[in-house]
């Protein structure tokens, strides 16, 4: 289903439908996260991926165009590049441990160590919260800094949009396109 949605995004011309499909894709991936035991990730993805980013994209569409124009460029070169990259990645997975294997390298190092320490060191029942806020608190601080910087960037880019628009309307010769 995820694959079908992704392929539909490739084919669809109407940007409105594309954005809706990307929301569907996020929700489906959230379901997949639940089945893979990552409940925290699932509800973050459902809220952020399917909720906020869809709203942001719809806002962008309201300010820009509704549909995609057909392009004259050939699609063989990108397809070839994508196939080569995919083949390289598949070759890379051949040495990976099988899905769900409990003695995989990812499962025998810090992961179980955290699970062992959390009950008596932190005392928070949700292991993901405990690691996020406590052991990896600096990461989360850095993440907050990134979000702050992005917010400022968006504000700088968007600010004055309305005043510039009004100027365009008053004097169409000078404003707008250079």
């Amino acid at each position: 289903m995820l694959t079908v949605t992704a392929l539909a995004v490739v084919r669809t011309r109407s940007l409105f439908a594309v954005v809706t499909l990307s929301g569907v894709f996020s929700l489906l991936s959230a379901l997949l996260f639940v089945t893979m035991d990552a409940v925290d990730v699932a509800f973050t993805e459902a809220a952020v991926g399917a909720g906020i980013s869809t709203v942001l994209m719809l806002g962008t569409l309201a300010l820009t165009a509704r549909s995609e124009r057909s392009t004259k460029r050939s699609s063989t070169v990108p397809l070839l590049a994508v196939l080569v990259t995919g083949a390289a990645l598949v070759y890379g997975t051949l040495d990976m441990p099988s899905f769900g294997q409990s003695d995989a390298p990812a499962q025998i190092h810090v992961g179980p160590d955290y699970l062992e320490r959390i009950p008596h060191e932190i005392g928070v029942p949700n292991a993901v919260t405990a690691i996020l806020a406590s052991y990896r608190g600096y990461d989360t601080l850095g993440e907050t800094a990134v979000v702050f910087a992005a917010g400022i960037g968006v504000l700088i880019l968007i600010s004055g949009l309305r005043t510039r628009r009004r100027k365009d309307e008053d004097d169409p010769e000078t404003g707008g396109s250079a």
């Binding site: 694959t3 894709f25 460029r73 997975t93 294997q101 292991a127």
Partner: protein
């Protein structure tokens, strides 16, 4: 196909499906000219990378890494690895930050060029470049 190969294929099918999704996203980013669609492709790519990480953290027979409230952990219960979940939580939030920045850039581009198609932007850029060259050539011609 003998049972060993079958087991190998089933154990790695998840990675291959995620790579398929990743490549779909990459194809959209590379081949499509519309900027909003490129952002959607980037999101698909990103989400499939998240899925890859979460699938690495999954342990067969495991459950979500949440302890009982009284913190008496049953040693027989298998928990999935919480570390990939933490990393991906951070990555999702950073992802939405980059997406919103990209969308803001698109709005600015639309304001300057009145289009969000890559081809038309390139045409306008070329036209501007040519007229600038022409102007500078004329200026130097008048000087000599």
């Amino acid at each position: 196909m003998d049972s060993g190969t079958l087991e190998f294929v089933i154990g790695h099918l998840n990675y291959w499906l995620f790579i398929l999704l990743m490549m779909t996203g990459l194809y959209i980013v590379v081949a499509k000219g519309n900027l909003v669609k490129k952002i959607v492709g980037l999101n698909i790519f990103q989400t499939s990378v998240f899925m890859l990480y979460i699938s690495i953290g999954k342990v067969t027979g495991g459950t979500a890494p949440i302890f009982p409230l009284d913190m008496k952990v049953d040693p027989d219960v298998v928990y999935s690895n919480p570390l990939p979940h933490v990393l991906i939580l951070t990555a999702i939030v950073v992802g939405i930050a980059t997406t919103s920045l990209g969308l803001a850039l698109i709005i600015r581009i639309r304001e300057e060029y009145h289009t969000i198609e890559e081809d038309q932007i390139a045409e306008i850029e070329n036209a501007v470049l040519k007229s600038e060259q022409w102007a500078s050539e004329r200026a130097t011609g008048e000087h000599s």
